[in-house]
């Protein structure tokens, strides 16, 4: 067993700064109004943790301050843990601000522990969080090392090792310090029996789990089945350009979540909540013809959909949901780039074709794009049908009248020769035309619309002619039993 402990030292601060658009010096205060954590700008101005908010404001009048929000930290930690699920099957939360991964089983895939730790830190940084990752034989040791940023337990101060209040109380730390024991390494070197007599069984149990003498099972998280993430913006956003930045952050979260679960999303939904609260939230669904995983693919189509959408004047809450999750099949590239053949090349091309359809549909609307399918029907109106592009299915739909019986193949094969000439342009529906504008060239060809179909055209006998209009266009016309002439297509 090898454990990777990851500590997020600035998590209480980062849950606020990632939602803010303007860059101001920020501090986090506790319930008593004392500064707990400062960002780099505030620290540079001389604001230190432990001071009062009033003195901080006297140093920097333009200071942003937030009251610490453990619930928000917990939600964020959970999301980070799910993003780290890609590295290990056992990911365990260690609040506040810590995550532990069992990596013994992952080393073969990711190389060595140092490489894996670097990758985990990079993922957290991409999600907007400063992280420190250290590894050790036991989860508590790994986390203690990560909290202290130390390389060995000899350098871990006792204050950093107090992961939970039950482990080491402040009183115990002070008594140790009075004994001259300030680091975890020194504490472990002391004889256990004497320690037990002075400090009780609680500390001994902690040290046993820290050193691996006692088993320390950790419950793993179960990743959520659905992705839903909300960003509470600190100030309302009015412009569509500005809202792209928080969108990028949410999409980054989504990308890591999808990668960890090896899923792709065929649909994402945005929810824009206006600041007043009384007005209706605006939904913006964005669909994809193929499942997507990368942030840029989501953002590309989202931007197009956003340009056409009517947003509330001031958005304060932004929510992203992923829908229609599909198992992710990663792009496989050929070993030789010039060999464009086989299933992988075709799949890659489907992706490229789908991207164009997504772009067009995002800007022009869902119904603006369609493809055509041929149906096994003899009337021109029913011989084709629109369908969504890239929908997998037969390119020929069987008609209801020909579904059974052995004659189907014969009928289908014989059709091109049996049918008369057909135009390339079709009018849907046919247009009425005056007979004196036409010169008939070929015909007639009798097409009987089926009496069994019902509707307005039921049982109509049409005589089709190839004709020439007065302006020279070659057209396909028919005359119905009532001697009405209709233009049905152009050649």
């Amino acid at each position: 067993m090898l454990w990777l402990g990851i500590h997020f030292p600035y998590l209480p601060l980062e849950v606020f700064t990632r939602e803010s658009v303007r860059q101001a010096a920020t501090v986090v205060i506790d319930a008593g109004g004392r500064v707990v954590l400062t960002d780099a700008a505030a620290a540079a101005a001389g604001i230190a943790p432990g001071g009062t908010l009033a003195s901080a404001h006297s140093i920097l009048p333009a200071l942003d301050h937030h009251r610490r929000d453990p619930a928000r930290e917990q939600r964020r930690l959970r999301l980070l843990a799910e993003a780290l699920y890609r590295f290990s099957a056992t990911v365990s939360l260690a609040p506040p601000g810590g995550v532990m991964l069992e990596i013994g089983a992952s080393l073969k895939l990711f190389g060595d522990a140092a490489h894996l730790a670097g990758q985990a830190e990079a993922v957290c940084r991409d999600l907007g969080h400063e992280a420190r990752a250290r590894w050790a034989r036991t989860p508590l040791a790994a986390l203690a090392l990560a909290r202290a940023g130390a390389a060995s337990l000899d350098d871990v101060p006792l204050a950093a090792a107090a992961i939970e209040p039950a482990h080491l109380t402040a009183e115990q730390i002070e008594r140790c310090a009075n004994m001259g024991v300030r680091t975890l390494g020194r504490l472990l070197a002391l004889p256990r029996r004497e320690l037990a007599r002075r400090f009780g069984d609680g500390l001994i149990g902690y040290l046993a789990r820290l050193s691996g003498d006692r088993a320390d099972p950790r419950p793993g998280i179960r990743p959520a089945e659905r992705f839903r993430s909300t960003l509470h913006l600190l100030e309302p956003l009015a412009s569509k350009e500005a809202i792209v930045f928080p969108m990028q952050r949410l999409l980054t979260d989504l990308q890591h979540w999808l990668v960890a679960r090896q899923l792709g999303a065929e649909q994402i939904r945005w929810l824009f909540v206006p600041s007043g609260g009384s007005r209706q939230a605006v939904r913006l669904p964005v669909r994809f013809s193929a499942a997507q995983q990368s942030r840029d693919a989501f953002l590309d189509i989202t931007r197009l959909a956003l340009a056409e959408a009517a947003l509330p004047a001031d958005v304060i809450d932004l929510t992203l949901e992923a829908g229609r999750l599909r198992p992710w099949a990663p792009d496989s590239h050929g070993l030789f780039p010039h060999q464009a053949g086989g299933a992988t090349a075709a799949d890659g091309n489907i992706q490229a074709l789908g991207r164009l359809v997504d772009q067009l549909q995002a800007r022009l609307g869902r119904d603006a794009c369609c493809g055509l399918v041929i149906r096994d029907q003899h009337t021109p109106e029913r011989a084709w049908v629109r369908r969504p592009p890239l929908e997998r299915g037969p390119t020929l739909l069987r008609g209801p009248t020909l579904q059974r019986g052995p004659t189907l193949q014969r009928v289908r094969a014989a059709e091109p020769a049996a049918a008369g000439r057909r135009p390339l342009w079709l009018f849907d529906p046919p247009r009425a035309v005056r007979r004196d504008r036409l010169t008939l060239l070929e015909g007639p060809e009798r097409v009987h619309t089926g009496w069994w179909l019902g509707g307005g055209e039921a049982g109509q006998a049409r005589d089709y002619y190839v004709a020439r209009e007065h302006d020279g266009a070659q057209c396909w016309v028919f005359v119905d039993p009532a001697e009405q002439w209709f233009l049905h297509g152009y050649f």
Partner: protein, 284 residues
Amino acid sequence: MGGRLILYMHTVTLSGPMSIATAMRRPPNRPNARLADLLAHPALWQAGRLDTAAAATPSGFSALDAHLPGGGWPQAGLAELLLATAGVGELRLLAPLMAALSRQQPRWVAWIAPPFVPYAPALEAQGVQTDRLLLVHPATHPQTLWALERAGRSGSCSLILGWLDERRLRAADTRRLKLAAHQGNCLICLFRPAQAAARSSMAELRLRLTPAAADCVTVDIRKRRGGWPVDGIRVPFAERQGAVALQAQLDRWRQWLGQRQAMSRPVGLEHDREPAMGRPGVVH
């Protein structure tokens, strides 16, 4: 000709290693070489030469191919068909190209704002693979232009057919479309009324179609790369019908052959099992 003098001015933009100015400033020890250098410049076109370098797809009509640069429709660029009337035979003229592109390339043949419905069974009979067709119906003129440009730039279309609002189309738009077509390596084909011939356009190829006799169209090449305009090319569509019938027959043969091969293939598993069963000394 009498005493008439024809002055032909051709403006070229030289961006290569040598410009006209530097060519002229060279020492005059080899005057012919200087001229040859100038004439060899790729951006300079001589009137007697038909440009055959560009990649092209045969149009399927020999009468037209003889006059098109490269012997067919350009692979990438902007073409315009100027129609005397809708239904003059513009689709039948393009059907062989559509058939070839839809079969050879796994890319879309996009129809942007078509005025009528393309009749799929007839297109299939012409050899077009109908599942490659993408019909786009934008609501407004700016959306149509955007869709044309986006489709052209995307690189996932081999041919784009576009119908635009003639009153709102500007010459600058055609320039954008031409650039998009070259970027995405596709042919954008615009359908415009015959009156548009008088308006300037950046299209590389402009053909005017006028109705002739039945199953025949007269094509006037108003503009082509590396050549003069040509008028009165008669394109008979009947020529194409034979080729389509032949192709259909070939397809049917190929399908039949495929079925035969699939039926006669032996089943592999029994093949592997036989020697193991017969091997001596194996205790089952």
